[in-house]
């Protein structure tokens, strides 16, 4: 499980953010002492730092620069100042990403995932299922004898359904997920993609893997 450090002085946001990230499968660390923010941060071993730029007693950008001198941990800067200059400065001071308040929490999640992936790409990560393996990094399904390529959409749909294996995923939920990863498909395209995916699975002998539940959605059992 990845650890995320939240550096945020507003208590309410800190707590909500902590809950939110914990619910989404991250281990969350926080700091509450902003007298020596920098040394507090350096004490904690973490995979990613979520840094609010407006913390007391310190210029956030300067802090970012200082952390960067000592650590290679990816930093995402959170700010309510939404202008180009700030974004540019943050990047110059060594931040890896930048997100403006008030953010859609799901978008924040997507940013976190993207940055973590960039830093530690799971090249060998494979999702096993029955007698096949899905390898997201290569966008293929691997059987014992062959490799079948998947399109970007097909891969996303398959991995999402596998992730939720055993529960019904509604079409809306699936589209919502795809849109979050900047695949803006509509109802018809989703149907087409599901059909193609089923065809590919059939070709390797996995028939009726993706079941349709009328009026509810899809499920992989």
């Amino acid at each position: 499980m990845k650890t995320i450090l939240i550096v945020e002085d507003e208590e309410k946001i800190r707590e909500e953010l902590k809950n939110f990230l914990t619910n989404n499968g991250y281990n969350v660390e926080i700091i509450t002492d902003f007298e020596n923010t920098e040394s507090e941060i350096l004490k904690i071993n973490t995979d990613l730092i979520l840094l609010d730029i407006n913390i007391p007693n310190k210029n956030g950008m300067y802090l970012c620069k200082e952390i960067r001198k000592n650590l290679k941990t990816p930093i995402i800067i959170v700010t309510s100042r939404n202008n180009e200059m700030d974004e540019l400065l943050c990047m110059n001071y060594g931040a890896d990403d930048f997100i403006a308040k008030p953010y859609n929490p799901l978008v924040l999640l997507a940013h976190i995932e993207a940055v973590l992936k960039r830093f530690a790409p799971d090249l060998d990560k494979a999702i096993p299922f029955k007698n096949i393996k899905v390898i997201p990094a290569k966008s293929v399904i691997k059987t014992e004898t062959e490799e079948i390529e998947l399109s970007k959409n097909e891969l996303k749909i398959l991995t999402y359904l596998l992730d939720k294996q055993g529960t019904i995923v509604s079409r809306y939920e699936l589209m919502d997920y795809l849109w979050n990863s900047e695949v803006f498909i509509d109802d018809n395209t989703l149907t087409v993609n599901i059909t193609r995916l089923r065809k590919k699975l059939e070709d390797i002998g996995l028939e009726n893997i993706i079941e349709t539940r009328r009026g509810q959605g899809y499920i992989i059992l």
Binding site: I13, S80, E84, M85, L88, N180, D186
Partner: protein, 335 residues
Amino acid sequence: MKFIDYLKDKIIEIVLINLFVIITTLILYSLKCNGWIIFDIVFLIYLVEIINFTSDYIKRKKFYNNTLNLLEDLDNKNLIHELIPETNFIDSKILKEILYETNKYKIEEINKYKNKEKEFKEFIEMWVHEIKTPLSSAMLTTYNNKSKLSDDIKIELDKIDAYVQQVLFYARSEVVSKDYIIKQVSLENVINKVILKHKRDFLLKKINLELKDLDTIVNTDTKWLEYIIDQIITNSIKYIDENPKIKIYIKQNKNDVKLIIEDNGIGIKSNDLPRIFDKGFTGSNGRNNNTSTGIGLYLVKKLCNKLKHNIEIESENGTKAIITFPVGSLTNEIK
């Protein structure tokens, strides 16, 4: 400056000279001077005066003509007192002095207002910045406590966010100072970001979205362009019709890139069209939808002008917004 006007100006002097000549003639005549001598003296006096007036006229005419020409060529007319040609006659020096003093006073006045405006803008920026913290916090709370109620609140929070954003951009657009950075920006990234923001509407209202060849780099400010496109898409979504469809594509020309956002919504009435960018104008569509403030498109136009993008909106079976990014000129400016 006409010679006749000049003479009118000098009427007292001319009268006095004539008077002087008449008196002189009378005195000389009473002293029984020779007629020719009197004539010579009178002639000489006139000759000197004519030379005197003419040269003075030419000098002044040259001075004022030069000054007027300069004024015409000058972009910043305030600088005229710096450029008035050096002369040795007293009027020009006084004129220069007067212009200098009045300009100084005026510039001080203007600066006073500029500062006030700046302070106001800074206050707004700070306020927007502050309000975003409770807004973020509320948004996170709704995500952590999913229910029908929190979903409803989420929608309202999004609206508050849009209004807050509007205040910020309004403040920014009204101020003379330049707080944007023009750099190379991928149109695709900007558009994806805006669309993602409206995901909910697209999915729930089943709006068909067609994106084509958006992989283009333009010179713009990301945040401002995001706001501009967001306004256009917000409008498209607001005024959808049956089988809603939004199409976004690019036309690449030699000297510019055109971004076209097209919808098949209810469109804009042709007599409303010329005024859609006016401040406070809501049109008949807006009046039927009482959340319109008539600020959105006004800001869009203003921001576009500042960024040197051109924006046009056409309406014929739906609405078509065309933003033009010039390719050549701005690139040169950056270099």
